[in-house]
Subunit: 207 residues, 2 copies
DNA sequence: TTTTGCTTGTTAATTAATTCACAGCTATAA
DNA sequence: TTATAGCTGTGAATTAATTAACAAGCAAAA
């Protein structure tokens, strides 16, 4: 279960979300092509992903939704849940905290950091904001393993280094500045502007 | 130049950003392996992308940074710039507006929409916020071709439909709700929570 | 009971993306 | 001038991701 392809992991997360929505409507079983339609992908892809996680559907009845949600949870979540820090309490940082506050999942933001005195020592959606200088201390005390970087790009490398030495094992970098980390730390990067520029490119070239 | 692979387009955007940074340091030429290092990819990849856009470097001197920036601009930007609307003035919506306000690029947010009376008829970073009911009117009047959806997921499909009928040609969906659009509209989707769950997965399976 | 139609699970084929490997060139050093 | 070292550009090979194709099974209809 360890060696699932990147893309499959992404889709599993999406399956779970959609399946939960379906559960809420009272459905108990679902066909691969129904899942596919929800996510606008092909049913083969869905079946293949399900195959990769070693699950089986019932012929002619489809997949048991509850079972699948549970299984995906087993694959993605840890039993105790994972503890997260947000570094940089700008709009994006707040968005994360807000979102994870609403959906209670196994992912929990337990601390945030900033250097702006207006933000420090305040609480946003139950998450306390510490001064960045206390990063290492708090991360170790709170047993935080995942960090989300939502600072201005310029300071991202410094933040990253601090996270790594504090013992973080996964980083989600929302900064346009590419970071590098040791092999034992997982790094995921996303840049909003690149996404937007991509859209702009295809709009330009479609007419 | 029309048929660049998706991934190449993304990287070109990143090259441009990095190259601009390099320009600011006074450099005039750069080697493929230097670009590669900045972005943590391989130099072959860089050279191949540059090949795909039909550019050539100078042997032993590398690529002329200014020229490359200009060329990438020609590929990605339109001459007049592209006009953008943000629908949903929550944290993410604000983040976009703020970001595009600072970097003045060819991408310009010229209108935002919400349904919250506290936000309507106010201005954020020079962007006026209209009531969602006026979407079509304003989009057509302002000749907006790209929409960024940053509303609550529930209303995203409705927003999407409205954007399409208003004549939008590209949509960036920041909602976890998958959307569908006609063939002549380009759709890019991103879900922050999926990214985070992916990090969580790999952290879990790395130890 | 037999047939029909529909769905899963999976192997094989295809397509997309990346990396290898190296020919060809050129500035610099010898 | 003649090596030498280093970088570009690109076909060929490899790897990753997706899609096609279909055997196998089962529920419902005939």
């Amino acid at each position: 279960m360890k060696n699932l392809p990147d893309k499959t992991v992404e889709r599993l997360c999406q399956y779970r979300r959609s399946l939960n929505n379906q559960l809420a409507t009272g459905k108990t079983h679902i066909f691969s092509h129904e899942i596919a339609n929800l996510l606008h992908i092909t049913s083969v892809q869905v079946r293949r992903d399900i195959m990769l996680i070693g699950h089986s559907g019932t012929l002619r009845k489809g997949y048991d939704i509850k079972e699948m949600v549970k299984l995906i949870g087993k694959i993605i979540d840890t039993k105790e849940g994972q503890r997260i820090a947000v570094i940089g309490m700008g709009n994006i940082g707040k968005a994360f905290i807000h979102y994870l506050y609403e959906k209670r999942s196994k992912l929990k933001v337990v601390a945030s950091f900033d250097v702006n005195p207006d933000k420090i020592d305040k609480t946003y959606a139950d998450v306390y904001c510490y001064h960045f200088g206390r990063l290492k201390e708090i991360i170790q005390k709170e047993d935080i393993k995942i960090g989300i970087i939502t600072t201005p790009p310029m300071v991202a490398p410094e933040v990253c280094e601090n996270l790594v030495t504090a013992g973080i094992k996964g980083i989600l970098n929302f900064t346009p500045k590419p970071l590098s980390v040791p092999d034992d730390v997982y790094l995921e990067e996303y840049d909003m502007i690149t996404s937007l520029e991509k859209v702009a490119f295809f709009v330009k070239h479609n007419e």
